[in-house]
Point group: C2
Chain length 170, copies 2
């Protein structure tokens, strides 16, 4: 149930509407825990039912601003420190690698070359994000930078792997 905690985490920095959260997801969490608009609104409803968030204000166009409650903060902290991360990494990119014997060596090398190129672009994109985050001082940005560094390091490792793997195919 990590979507729930992603929402609580964002609200821990201040109140926001579903629409605001949507944008925050797209900017900062999209690489770590993507969520869709419909998921978000549904989750906000459930969080309010569970008293982990409150509607703190209402604005134009039916805008509802949500704020995290004490119970919500407690739940968030509990999740961070006491709940073991699930770490199920599913990768259909890597799954294909297992079955590369079913295509020609040229196709297999092409596949790996394509993946290397793709991840190179992704790393470039993250470097753009880094500039965007550079001068921000809020908590989310500070820790977001740690997370970004993770993406950068793993992206580079992935790129090097893909280039190495291409060379392994005879």
């Amino acid at each position: 149930m990590s979507l729930r905690h992603a929402v609580l985490g964002l609200l821990s920095e201040g109140p926001a509407s579903g629409y605001d959260l949507m944008k925050m997801f797209d900017i900062s969490l999209s690489n770590v825990w993507p969520a869709t608009q419909s998921q978000l609104y549904a989750e906000l409803g459930k969080l309010a039912d569970a008293d982990l968030v409150d509607v703190s204000a209402e604005g134009p166009r039916g805008r509802k601003e949500y704020a995290i409650t004490e119970a919500g903060l407690a739940e968030l902290r509990h999740w961070i420190t006491e709940v073991e991360p699930a770490r199920v990494l599913r990768s259909d990119m890597l799954l294909r690698v297992f079955f590369l014997a079913q295509v020609s060596p040229e196709q297999a090398r092409g596949y790996l070359r394509h993946q290397a190129e793709h991840v190179r672009k992704h790393v470039e994109h993250l470097e753009g994000l880094r500039e965007f985050l550079e001068n921000r001082e809020d908590n989310l940005s500070a820790y977001g930078r740690l997370s970004l560094e993770y993406g950068l390091r793993l992206g580079k490792a992935q790129q090097e792997w893909a280039e190495w793997a291409e060379g392994q195919i005879g």
Copy 2:
């Protein structure tokens, strides 16, 4: 719909029963595309309905051995070469990093230290797997080794990141 292709991929190396596939998933694909027993049997039924696999033999205890069909092989190859990998990496380990400001610096460092240790053990486990795969000559093992190297490289990068990140928290 990658589960479908994971099953087709395993069957591309030879016929197997649901039970056999389950073990293959646990040994070789668990780090890349985990699947549960109930998912597997359901998927085999659907694959048979779609004529991508056949029941090639029946054995004791209701055992049904499935074989991939020509249409199934074509679908597998199409998926490998023509379908762009989805690459949605969800990580609740990394999600927590965004929200570390909500716990004390000691707790935050403890969290990262714990993650470093955890991934270290995972890398050790993969090194055990490497020995297991070392002398095998089948396709799945050969390409499995590429995949294993991926896990090793990214695991090490992840460990180094966690140690670095711990040092970043003042």
